[in-house]
């Protein structure tokens, strides 16, 4: 599990996660990092199934499909919030603050 390819993709996942948490202002950068996380997870699953002789391994394809749907929903939410709040700043999404 600690082969170089896997290590590469693991680190890319970590970097995308850090980018998702430490992003600056715009919501779109969060969605980009989210896509990157999904991509690196997909690649990890694909290379792992190649090196471990599992015959029919559908999981990567499922994950890819779901990530595409998720990206669509995210973009729709982004546009909806941009239409109501006129910005897509993260600091304005504070309806739950007491």
């Amino acid at each position: 599990l600690t082969s170089p390819t896997n290590l590469l993709f693991t680190f890319s996942f970590i970097i995308f996660t850090i980018g998702f948490t430490f992003r600056h202002t715009h919501l779109l950068s969060a969605l980009l990092c989210l896509e990157g996380m999904m991509l690196s997870v997909f690649l990890l699953m694909a290379t792992w199934s190649l090196s471990s002789n599992i015959s029919s391994f559908i999981l990567p394809l499922t994950v890819l499909t779901l990530s595409a749907c998720e990206a669509g929903i995210g973009l729709a939410l982004l546009i909806a919030s941009a239409r109501t709040h006129n910005t897509a700043n993260l600091k304005n999404l504070n309806l739950l603050q007491c």
């Binding site: 948490t21 992003r23 999404l93 007491c98």
Partner: protein, 617 residues
């Protein structure tokens, strides 16, 4: 003498029942509740004359009724009513004064909404006073004593929205409570030394009798406003005038003197206490009379006059003449109540004006009131053959012919002089000279207010002769004395009348300087209550506030325990909620931080060499 005992007690209880019955009926059932109560007082007076006639007819025999109430150890507490000379004579006088005052009150306080409550309180007071007067043992006497104290408090504080009334009522209650200490000490002494609590059993050995004698003296001094306890009586003029007339002139303030009359044997077995009584009475008499000379409030003049007469009664007890004291009580009730009712009429007519500097020239406007004021003042000063003469002159004769120290004699004579002088001053300012009243005063003398005053006037003229003709003094009074001693009181009266009238006519010719507008020093000494009333209580209350409330209750119990916890919790909660911005960003940062920390811990805690199974992969 063949009358059964039960009949006598019925005769005694009948006036009380008549008096109480309208109070127990709700006032909505009566057609005119006030007139019914006045009528009840009148009937009670008339029926209380029956035990009096029985007593006189049967040559002053004593009737007592006893029933056992409870037994504590070896002391038996009984319910016992006695109808001896003092109670049988005092009862009609009390009810006569109550009748007059109730009839006066109907007109005086007709604009008061709670007048029924007022009448009920007056009736309750009368009942408690009767319990006090007819008590045979000291325990029942104490019940009446406490009762009159409480009723005095409630009646002084009738206008309880007025802070001066609250202060005056507090003074009355506290000074009376201090007096009760004396009575309780005397009771306790009697119980401890296996004496029964009956009043006729107050014969003690001379050695040990100092404690109860001083206790009784303290009780009487507090209740009857002698020197150390005098502030409450002028302050009690904050109550309505009927209250002043009933309680603080005739009946309640004589309760202390009555106690000493009843237990006089216990007092006389101790020379120290008797002399103390004499000196206290004389001192009070002189000081109060000199204070009354400088007062500007009409009711306060009469209040200080009452204090002075109470001092005179105390003096006569100190002379070992309790019967004279009782006679002075009886005659004093009439004219003092009448003086208060006249003052009430004057105050009511001038629109609640009590300052004599703003009265004047009422001789033609209120003729009946003026005449009764003059009759009352003459009776008070001891004009021959009016009511006050029989008691006051007898006391002054007794003090002139007894082995007493001359200081008390001098003080009593000075007090008698001042009595005439302040009465004259009061009459001059109120009724004579030019009017200084407001122009539109509704000056009126309704017949409902003048008829009780006239009845009391008849009483204050005739009562002296009637009472002294029926009571024979047990001690034979000194019958031979030098002429100057015999005529001493009369000389003082005439001299002070002359001097007073000269002073009045010369008063207009005095220069107008600032010195004349201040009270003399002795009046300032009497009124120096500031330390006692203000400084000491505020010190005590501050100590209690700092020590017990602030330190114990609020600090040790509250602030160091629950309140600190709640305060810190709310502080932390307020600080922390500022960090709760509802953004995903900080939450994610914390989550990622925790994950990295845990994974770091996990990965660094693994061994240096991986296991063989992972090595094969």
């Amino acid at each position: 003498m063949t009358q059964p005992l039960a009949l006598i007690i019925m005769l005694f209880l009948l006036p009380l029942a008549i008096l109480t019955l309208p109070m127990l009926t709700p006032s909505s059932k009566l057609a005119s509740p006030l007139k019914t109560k006045v009528l009840a007082a009148k009937l009670a007076f008339l029926t209380s004359l029956i035990p009096l006639t029985y007593l006189i007819h049967n040559d002053l025999t004593i009737t007592t009724y006893e029933a056992q109430w409870s037994q504590i150890g070896t002391t038996t507490i009984r319910v016992s009513f006695t109808l001896d000379i003092y109670s049988t004579f005092f009862l009609p006088i009390l009810l006569f004064v109550v009748w007059a005052i109730m009839e006066f009150t109907v007109q005086y306080m007709e604009s008061d909404l709670k007048i029924n409550t007022f009448f009920n309180q007056l009736t309750t007071f009368t009942l408690v006073m009767v319990i006090l007067v007819t008590a045979e043992n000291l325990f029942q006497f104490f019940i009446g004593w406490e009762g009159v104290g409480i009723m005095s408090f409630m009646l002084i504080n009738w206008w309880s929205f007025r802070s001066n009334s609250n202060k005056a009522a507090m003074q009355a209650v506290i000074y009376n409570r201090l007096a009760d200490i004396g009575l309780v000490v005397a009771l306790a002494w009697m119980v401890i030394n296996d004496l029964s609590l009956d009043i006729k059993n107050t014969q003690v050995t001379p050695d040990m009798a100092l404690i109860p004698a001083l206790g009784l003296l303290l009780a009487a001094a507090g209740k009857s406003a002698q020197f150390g306890f005098h502030p409450w009586l002028p302050a009690a003029m904050e109550g309505p005038t009927p209250v002043s007339a009933l309680l603080h002139s005739s009946t309640m303030v004589v309760a202390g003197v009555f106690l000493l009359i009843r237990t006089s044997n216990m007092l006389y077995s101790n020379e120290t206490a008797t002399t103390a009584c004499l000196l206290l009475g004389a001192f009070t008499s002189m000081l109060a009379a000199s204070c009354a000379l400088t007062q500007n409030d009409l009711k306060k003049i009469i209040a200080y006059s009452t204090t002075s007469q109470l001092g005179l009664m105390m003096t006569s007890i100190g002379l070992k003449q309790p019967e004279l004291a009782f006679m002075h009580i009886s005659t004093h009730a009439f004219f003092k109540a009448m003086l208060f009712l006249c003052a009430g009429t004057i105050i009511h007519s001038l629109g609640n004006e009590q300052d004599i500097r703003k009265m004047g020239g009422l001789k033609k406007a209120l003729p009946t009131t003026t005449s009764c004021l003059i009759i009352g003042s003459l009776a008070l000063s001891g004009m021959p053959f009016m009511a006050g003469f029989y008691s006051k002159d007898a006391i002054i004769e007794a003090i002139n012919t007894s082995h007493v120290n001359s200081l008390s004699l001098a003080m009593t004579l000075v007090a008698t002089t001042f009595t005439t002088l302040y009465s004259l001053r009061m009459i001059y300012y109120v009724t004579l000279n030019t009017p200084r009243i407001l122009s539109l005063s509704a000056v009126s003398e309704a017949p409902q207010t003048t008829s009780p005053i006239l009845r009391l006037a008849i009483g204050s003229i005739a009562a002296g002769l009637m009472i002294s003709a029926t009571i024979m003094p047990p001690n034979i009074p000194q019958l031979t004395m030098p002429t100057s001693a015999k005529l001493a009181a009369l000389n003082i009266l005439i001299l002070s009348l002359l001097v007073g009238s000269i002073l009045i006519t010369m008063a207009n010719q005095l220069p107008n300087s600032i010195k004349g507008t201040q009270n003399p020093l002795i009046s300032k000494i009497i009124h120096s209550y500031f330390i006692l009333h203000h400084t000491l209580p505020s010190m005590i209350l501050q100590i209690s506030q700092k020590l017990s409330t602030h330190l114990m209750d609020q600090t040790h119990y509250e602030a160091l325990g629950p309140k600190t916890v709640t305060h810190l919790q709310t502080l932390m909660a307020k600080l922390l909620t500022n960090f709760h911005k509802a953004q995903i960003n900080p939450y994610l940062k914390i989550a990622i931080l925790s994950i990295t920390l845990i994974s770091l811990l996990y990965f660094t805690s693994m061994n240096a060499e991986p296991p063989d199974a992972a090595h094969e992969l």
